[in-house]
Amino acid sequence: MDYNDSDAGTSLSTGSGGLDTGPGGRLRAPLRKSASQGLKIVVVGGFGVGKTTLVGSVSEIRPLSTEEVMTEASRGVDDDSRVRDKTTTTVAFDFGRITLDSRNVLYLFGSPGQERFWYLWDQLFAGSLGAVVLVDTRRLKDSWYAIDRLEHHKMPFVVAVNRFDGIDGPEPTLARVREALSIEDGIPVIDCDARVRESSKQVLISLVKYLTRLSDSARSEQAGSGRR
């Protein structure tokens, strides 16, 4: 994908080497000893929309991938009864990492919005700060399902339109995308180029600012009801 390898290991001390090779012979960049709080944001979208590219362009490590199997214990967490007919469900997902400060480490997860992925949402992504729905305007339909599921899981999200072919040309405007996906006015819909670190960073900032607005209004509502 299009992430820049030179971004890998920005948190490492020095040197051409400087890179630590883990037991699996893979690239590792240890966290600071003071790191104490892991946080997560999930990037969802259809196949090939650029999720790994977005994660990779802001991550301090080269994106890693892993998988989860749905186990007996967690089955039935989602309310979809079709799950019970299956024996094992496996989903693969990518992730990257951003060290925010001495304490906080943000993990970014990219996962296909395919159906079986949502069976594992609670097991993997409950407690996420929020989500980014990454959209390819040529395949808007791919995003409908993801948006529906995020609403179902009560996970706040922003919509980022990945203009990887350049913004010129006959692509729909953001207003059209908002309309086509029936996105409420308050929810940010923004352009991005997932290959560009600064652009991906702005997507995350939009999400966090949106979450802050929601949190502020929830707090003032609570304060308001307290006064009554």
Binding site: L64, E72, L129
Partner: protein, 125 residues
């Protein structure tokens, strides 16, 4: 929190590693819980336990351990439970979900101060 025995559904390779256990519903690990090794591997330990203790000299998230070991997250959780029970590791947990405020339409919202710290961190990138 004792892992329950199952399960003919777990692939053989994982079954061998976990002795057929899966994490219970009350397993204490989030995928971004940070794991720290509290001691060195001892002789005779299962090789996956040894690897985890070696890689967690610096804090490491559950999901990173999973990627490094090339094992599913739930298999790693079983291994971590063993180490937690024997004092081999400690865990730095993310914020409990219960403390999150509820927003409009019952949305799950993160803690306000945490959001502030995340925003500052991202702006500094």
């Amino acid at each position: 929190m004792s892992p329950r025995a199952i399960d003919r559904e777990m692939p053989d390779r994982f079954y061998t590693i976990t002795h057929g256990r899966v994490p219970g519903d009350d397993d204490p690990f989030d995928i971004v819980s940070l794991i720290v090794a509290e001691r060195d591997p001892a002789p005779g330990m299962q090789s996956e336990h040894v690897k985890i203790l070696q890689m967690c000299h610096a804090p490491m998230a559950v999901v990173e351990i999973s990627a490094e070991l090339r094992l599913p997250v739930s298999v790693v959780k079983v291994l971590l439970l063993d180490l937690l029970d024997t004092g081999g590791i400690t865990t730095r947990h993310p914020l409990p979900r219960a403390t999150a405020a509820s927003g409009p339409a019952g949305m799950h919202l993160p803690d306000h101060d945490v959001l502030k710290q995340v925003l500052l961190g991202l702006q500094r990138l």
